[in-house]
């Protein structure tokens, strides 16, 4: 099912419930060709979407625009109701703190322990150290890393790093979770477990957007899919998924529900 976002977005009727909204967004890097020239979509509060497309289709660019690493060369992007092209640079950190981002390459800080890496978003936001000492180990235990609190990222396996990266993305209880190929480096079993984690967050109200090229994985879930191809974005109904999801459980060495975060 194709979808015309411009008509739905209705510029005269800004919908405050939309966490992310792209209207006629175009992007080019320097003087290169446009990665895409007119894409539009909206993510309602509490929604769960996959973002698919071949390699080089622009999935990472869409996410980069969402987490404000990139600025659109045309069109408007609204985040939490704010037109980001109009916002001064100084207020962007406040918007970024409402998001959790799982980078494709994790981007953990190698000289900091797993605990300090996960604590980072709380620290830059000025959270009290007592809260950090209480909540961070709890979350790391929940993703199955209770025994690796003091481990530095270079000593962790790919799957473990991925879970540290995810813990860092969710420690702030973000309103918007953006994940770029979060299952790229792990086998299907761990991929399913991580996606279940995102589902749990989503159930608590977080809007989720996951970029992936793993079509099989997407088919197992009932969530709507945004597909990027040749600079155009189309919407597709989600896969069946329910039967497969039944077998998925959170990390076995952790409690079944995520701990409450500040």
């Amino acid at each position: 099912m194709s979808h015309d976002s411009a008509a739905r977005a209705g510029l005269d009727d800004p919908d405050a419930n939309m966490v992310v909204r792209f209207d006629h967004v175009g992007l080019r890097y320097d003087l290169g060709p446009e990665v895409f020239r007119d894409i539009g979509f909206a993510l309602p509060k509490g929604s769960f979407h996959f973002l698919t497309g071949g390699s080089g289709a622009g999935k990472s660019s869409v996410l980069g625009l969402c987490y404000l690493a990139l600025r659109p060369t045309r069109g408007t992007i609204r985040l939490f109701g704010h037109d980001v092209t109009q916002l001064p640079r100084q207020v962007l950190p406040r918007l970024r703190r409402r998001m959790g981002v799982v980078f494709q390459d994790f981007r953990l800080i190698d000289h900091l322990s797993a605990l300090d890496n996960v604590a980072l978003p709380l620290r830059v936001a000025g959270a009290p150290e007592t809260d950090i000492r209480r909540h961070v180990p709890e979350l790391l235990a929940w993703v199955g890393l209770a025994d690796h609190l003091d481990a530095k990222p270079p000593t962790l396996s790919g799957g473990q790093k991925q879970r540290v990266a995810i813990a860092r993305a969710v420690i702030n209880r973000p309103d918007l979770l953006l994940a770029d190929e979060p299952t790229g480096n792990v086998d299907d079993r761990i991929a399913m477990r991580l996606l279940h984690l995102f589902e749990e967050l989503n159930k608590m109200g977080t809007t989720v957007l996951i970029a992936t090229h793993n079509e099989q994985l997407v088919q197992r879930f009932p969530y709507e899919r945004l597909h990027l191809q040749a600079g155009r974005l189309t919407r597709h109904r989600g896969g069946g998924g329910a039967s497969e999801r039944a077998g998925v459980r959170p990390a076995t060495d952790a409690p079944a529900t995520p701990p409450r975060q500040p």
Partner: protein, 296 residues
């Protein structure tokens, strides 16, 4: 909590070393300028309050010539006393003159017969020294007593003081150049750190760190590196200063005035390493903020 591993690589050695060398040079230059300033002040206090007049003797050996000379001296003294700004005029006696020349030509009757010029010591009124212009005074004196001259200490002293002031300005210039060099070194070290930790900075940026949070870590790091180097340079400069002071004391035969620094001077010198550290901190902060401002 420091999230950037600053101060652990080669810039951690480079910046304190550079700041140390700079502070060492700055302390020496500033100490020289301050000591020179004190000397100049002493000199101008000593000398600007007085002038000396010379009256040539009337040729001849007889009592008549001596009387004529005395008369000229009395006339010169009267003219000088009438000048504005002059507090008193004292005529040096013949005995005093003899005492002055004795070290060079000895004493004795023969010396008394030499046609020595007579000297008048003129004391200016306090505060009048700056106002008094010796030029017109010399003219008046010459008109009244042929051949009489006004010996103006201030002419040669003025030139000496010009030189001294130029050297003092040079010291200040060294301090300024050294400050500039310190700032440039810190800018480069900070840029190197920024480049080295770019990925970490990007992560901090992406998770919502304000620019100030990142800049603060660089600024604190630069402050400590600056303090380390600055205090080191200051400590090295102290024995050097003491050594120069010792050498100057040894030739203290009136040729070289006693070199001394006041408490205020020492406070200024001690402020140099602190100033260097503050400069390093501010430079790092500005550099980081400018770089971050270019990030999206």
């Amino acid at each position: 909590m420091r999230t950037l591993p600053l101060g652990r690589d080669r810039t951690a050695v480079l910046v304190p070393m550079l700041v140390g060398v700079m502070v060492f040079l700055a302390v020496l230059a500033a100490a020289g300028a301050l000591a020179l300033g004190n000397v100049l002040e002493d000199w101008s206090r000593d000398v600007s309050g007085s002038l000396t007049a010379q009256v040539p003797p009337v040729p001849g050996l007889g009592e008549a010539a001596r009387m004529a000379t005395d008369e000229r001296v009395a006339q010169a003294a009267a003219v000088l006393r009438a000048q504005p700004g002059v507090a008193s005029v004292r005529v040096l006696s013949e005995d005093e003159l003899m005492a002055l020349v004795e070290p060079w030509i000895g004493a004795g009757e023969l010396v008394r017969d030499l046609p020595l010029p007579r000297l008048l010591d003129i004391t200016l009124e306090p505060g009048a020294a700056a106002r008094t212009n010796p030029g017109p005074m010399a003219d008046v004196l010459r008109d009244a007593v042929p051949g009489a001259t006004l010996d103006e200490h201030r002419l040669w002293l003025g030139r000496l003081m010009d030189l001294g002031e130029a050297l003092g300005a040079l010291g200040l210039a060294v301090v300024l150049v050294v400050s500039g060099a310190t700032a440039v070194a810190v800018v480069h070290a900070t840029r190197a750190d920024l480049a080295a930790y770019r990925p970490v900075i990007e992560v901090l940026h992406m998770i919502g760190a304000q620019d100030g949070y990142i800049a603060r870590q660089f600024a604190i790091n630069a402050l400590f590196q600056g303090l380390k180097g600055g205090l080191g340079g200051f400590m090295l400069a102290l024995p050097t200063l003491a050594g120069v002071g010792l050498l100057a004391d040894r030739v203290e035969a009136g040729l070289v005035p006693r070199i001394s620094l006041s408490v205020v001077d020492w406070a200024i010198l001690a402020a140099l390493p602190l100033g260097a550290a503050s400069l390093a901190m501010l430079t790092a902060r500005v550099t980081v903020l400018r770089t971050l401002a270019r990030m999206p």
